[in-house]
Amino acid sequence: MGILEREVILCGIGGQGIQLIGKALALAATKAGRYAMLAADYGGEMRGGPSQASVVIGDAPLRSLPILASSAAAVLMHHKFSAFARERLRPDGLLLLNTSIVTDTVAGETAHQGRVVGLPVTAMARELGAPQSAGFIMLGAYAGLTGVVTAAGLETAMRSLLPPYRAQHGDANARAIAAGLAEVSSL
């Protein structure tokens, strides 16, 4: 709630890597010696069901709630199951949209008053030849816009989280983080 803590709600559907990017973000902050909290929420289905991760990062032991009362930022990788994230986003907060899937008309009935940044990360990831890395493009963008973690910290955390059968995605995900960061550097 205070300026010492910064919240973000990441949401999408199962298969978009929401849990992985949420954990990478929280882990990168922890490794940098900052306080972090990750509250994950997902359904039983492997694909297509709701997937949400609330991450809070701060410089003192956190007081934020595991079910956030309000959030400084929301990242929508999909419009489905995004009601909670949209409702909790503060009016002056940052809204990041995956515009490959989420269009203005499905983002919500009322336009967000605060900053809206749209990136077609699904399409960008396909162009990078790594469709599974879309979430990391978005994560790089978030890091670039807020400065809560560095790209290097995200990359290290990401690699440590990949299970052995996905290790080959490490380089592609690292490129995705860099691409997201670059995309917002001019904003």
Binding site: M1, K23, A26, L27, A29, T30, G33, R34, Y35, A36, M37, L38, A39, A40, P61, L62, R63, S64, L65, P66, I67, A69
Partner: protein, 358 residues
């Protein structure tokens, strides 16, 4: 200072237990306790300890009883339904004075009665700590292993799915809570055949050549022990209660949410505070009476139909000030709390309880 590690509650509790010397764990899977059993399964062998996936909750707790009687720092746990099965053994450990830690990772309601009233037989209580978040759960876990041995009794850490599953950056550092009494009661076999062999027995009749106090004196002594614990181990947190005319009483994760709402309402000018029992038993009656001396209303918020409410009514400074603003609220899956555990609904209940009264 040790580094920060991003750990979910179950993993953090496991690490804390290991730093406190826990080397025997037995449990039966049931969410949200399952993560604790799995974390113990991974880590115990790495620390030369034993983790048993017992074939039933009753077997798990009795394995722990045996291991503890033989001198190990031992723990078990379950969620409410499994803790229900363990009641006889918990009473047994209280009455035969076996130290053990029981992790009650409740599932979808706040099982205050289960921890504080118990369902075993005889005159016993179960010292229970209810952490509000993962960092506090780490401290409490370490403290509980010490308290169990200090007083030779089973003790409870009270948790829930949010505590179990939220991942938080924490430090796990070993802690020294002070000297412990001599362990002259441990069964290790070595006094067999000496005429002074040992006995762990709820009836404490001793041996033919060395009679014990027997059930009457033994159980009266244990009741006195619980009275000492009741006086010495009450713990609570009074948050912004000094000038509050409305005090909300809540424990565990629910208290975390209430604290947040207290800050919100204070920013709006309302004089509201939170009284948080940290020990569910012994209930912090002394601190509650003191904190509520000048309160106009004392609002009890818990996720059940009203359990801690009874103790608040009993010990509050003026019982006419007490109102219940909690309730049963279950997620549609049955496996988590429902929509009442959220800042907005809690704020609305505090506000509407504060309007039009006195």
């Amino acid at each position: 200072m040790t580094e920060l590690r991003l750990l979910d509650g179950c993993t953090a509790i496991t690490e804390a237990a290991l730093t406190a010397g826990c080397r025997f764990f037995a449990g039966y899977p049931m969410s949200p306790f399952t993560g604790l059993l799995e974390a113990m399964s991974r880590r115990m062998p790495e620390e030369n300890g034993t983790c048993m996936n017992a074939e039933s909750e009753i077997e798990a707790v009795n394995m722990v009883l045996g291991a503890a009687a033989a001198g190990a720092r031992a723990a078990t746990g379950s969620c409410g339904q499994g803790i229900a099965l363990m009641q006889e053994a918990i009473a047994e450990m209280a009455l035969n004075q076996t130290p053990a830690v029981v992790f009650n990772m409740a599932r979808n309601q706040q099982d205050y009665f289960q921890c504080t009233r118990g369902g075993g037989w005889g005159d016993y209580r179960t010292l229970t700590l209810a952490p509000k978040d993962v960092p506090e759960a780490v401290e409490h876990t370490q403290l509980l292993f010490w308290l169990a041995e200090r007083y030779r009794m089973p003790v409870i850490l009270y948790g829930d799915p949010i505590l179990a599953q939220t991942q938080v950056a924490v430090r796990i550092e070993p802690r020294d809570h002070g000297p412990l009494p001599p362990r002259d009661w441990v069964l290790d076999g070595s006094s067999g055949g000496t005429g002074r062999s040992r006995q762990v027995w709820t009836w404490a009749m001793g041996k033919a050549t060395d009679p014990g106090p027997g059930p009457d004196r033994h159980w009266r002594a244990i009741a006195e022990k619980f009275s000492e614990v009741a006086a010495a181990e009450q713990r609570s947190e009074s948050y912004r209660t000094e000038d509050a005319d409305t005090i909300v009483v809540a424990f565990g994760t629910a208290a975390l949410f209430v604290a947040h709402v207290v800050d919100e309402l204070r920013a709006r000018g309302l004089r509201v505070g939170l009284f948080r029992p940290v020990t569910l038993w012994p209930f912090p009656s002394v601190a509650l009476a003191a904190a509520t001396r000048r309160a106009t209303r004392v609002l009890v918020f818990e996720l059940n139909a009203g359990q801690m409410l009874d103790d608040v009514r009993q010990y509050v400074h003026d019982r006419d000030t007490v109102a219940f603003i909690g309730g049963v609220s279950i997620h549609e899956s049955g496996l988590a709390f429902g929509p009442l555990l959220d800042a907005g609904p809690i704020r609305e209940r505090i506000l509407s309880a504060s309007e039009g009264t006195r």
